[in-house]
Symmetry: C2
Subunit: 331 residues, 2 copies
């Protein structure tokens, strides 16, 4: 790769720029707001991820069109609901052959498309790779050990991304199921809101672990109905990412849920967070996908009802625990 | 059920006695050491589980033979490596038709038998039920919400146990794969030691979640080779129990690993813990099972080497992270 450009100056964009620069790879980073990027270019630090200083080798480019020009690998680090409006105007400036790698985790509510599907609309012939896993950014900024999968229908492209992002502290596995990886990444943010609610209610690790298992089973049920590979949900980007998102105190979706659990309204929570909480909108997308595929998702339905229909979190837990006792059913 | 007897006055035995008594069920508890049980009979509290006081309705019986007499449901809450020596002398005193329900999580190293297999030796015709799930006892003592599976080849017996132990705060699912449930319960204690080591090394949530996913994949690989149902490992007693054991600060196996991670020797750790750490011996059993079924278990092998062969935990992590990057493989 002669030139890599990361579009998105949030946590994952910053971390991946640092990682590539430290490997000696030529990397540019840009973002949707030229003013913010210009500030980053000077300061080399961002309040989005205190503790990370961008290495001098990272080229910070305020105008996204300039940044993507000539890149042979493009990384999407824009949150799901904003991908379309950021990438559409860039289409003419990007090489149609450049690999697109996406780290976004969500479902576009207006279309029910996954991040890589949105990117494909603006580059139908480009190889697409989904890069996902348990990656709390503050830990990556400290080079703590982590893993991701590089998932693609195009195995060569997946191996390119594996090679490019693998380091002594970041182990990358290739995977051939981008659909499953993206669904798992989207759904886990919804389950993590439920995990946070359990924390807010101080209901304990047993309850949260049961939620993780039953939530995973909802992901499996929807994912396999949509054609994903069940093994993906057992993997790094499935249960691995779900676990870190449910248990790390730093995750935004879990934190959002915790604040709902102690009684804040959604508006109060979001006003106080200052960054996108992917699960809030993605809950709508997951329920619509479930409806289309005729799948029941009791936990995600409860999260949706808490977020968007005013259900009291306490009543939601009581409702989930109080259902008739049944045989365990996974798929 | 007219009479239920719990054999084992450790954490799970105490909690289950409390749960049954609060439901109005006639329940006895006993243990392997009559002196200790006699003390419990008077004090109604145990240093094994501070915070729990046995309800007056629980009958505490010092002599195990007296306690099991006439019981039509027997609960095994004795740690795996001690089941044989506790139950063998009781065989003549127990009804051969009484359901045996076991909550032990391990593999008997000398025979590679699962807890329910050991119990079956002394009651070949009794219905056997495995009761397992994410159940940190200190949370159960506070009646925080939790789930378990009641797994048996005998579906009627599983439903009896489901009915008996289900409460407003304990939701029980039936399951038809006792082999998978017991293997998952044994293996998770070994993986939890690795999770604790990660905590001791302060390697973070990303690393621990990757470990959880890769550890689960080892459990799946061994379990399916032995004939278990893959879905069990996605369930409450699979990934659910694995998650709570890896993340709850209260788990003994995780705590053991954490102390190894900060540099204590195994002897120092075990001397300081005062209760059985199931994963330490079970690691031997898991490796022997893997050898017999020709399965590679890199994480469990590393834990075994740290526990029993003096491998430095830091070198183990470096070894696991430094292997050649590969495609993700689950089963």
């Amino acid at each position: 790769m002669s030139q890599i450009t990361i579009v998105g100056d949030g946590q994952m964009g910053l971390v991946l720029a640092m990682l590539l620069a430290e490997k000696g790879t030529a990397v540019r980073i840009t973002g949707p707001f030229p003013d913010q990027v210009a500030t980053l270019a000077k300061s080399r630090v961002s309040q989005r991820l205190p503790g990370l200083t961008l290495p001098a080798r990272v080229e910070v480019v305020a105008e996204a069109k300039d940044a993507v020009d000539g890149a042979d690998l493009l990384v999407n680090a824009i949150p799901t609901q904003f991908i379309r409006r950021v990438w559409e105007p860039l289409a003419a400036a990007t090489s149609s052959a450049a690999i697109r790698a996406s780290v976004a985790k969500g479902i576009e509510v207006s279309t029910l498309e996954r991040p890589s599907e949105i990117l494909a609309e603006f580059a139908p012939d480009a190889p697409l790779v989904v890069l996902s896993g348990p990656t709390i950014a503050a830990e990556l900024a400290r080079r703590l050990p982590a893993t991701m999968v590089a998932a693609s229908d195009n195995e060569d492209a997946a191996r390119v991304v594996q090679e490019l992002f693998g380091t002594s502290w970041m182990r990358i596995y290739t995977n051939t199921d981008p659909l499953g990886v993206e669904l798992a990444g989207a759904a886990k943010n919804v389950i993590a809101i439920a995990a946070g609610i359990i924390d807010g209610l101080a209901a304990g690790y047993n309850a949260k672990s049961a939620l993780l298992a039953r939530g995973l089973s909802e992901i499996v049920r929807l994912g396999t109905a949509m054609g994903a590979n069940v093994e993906t949900f057992f993997g790094i980007a499935g249960v691995g990412d779900l676990a870190t998102t449910c248990f790390s105190p730093e995750g935004r979706n879990r934190t959002c849920g915790e604040r709902l659990g102690v009684g804040q309204t959604l508006k109060e929570v979001l006003d106080g967070m200052g960054s996108v909480v992917e699960g809030v909108e993605t809950a709508r997308g997951m329920l619509e996908l479930a409806r289309r595929h005729d799948i029941e998702l009791p936990i995600m339905e409860a999260v949706h009802a808490i977020l968007h229909e005013g259900l009291d979190p306490r009543d939601a837990i009581t409702g989930l625990m109080g259902r008739e006792q049944k045989p365990e059913r996974i798929g």
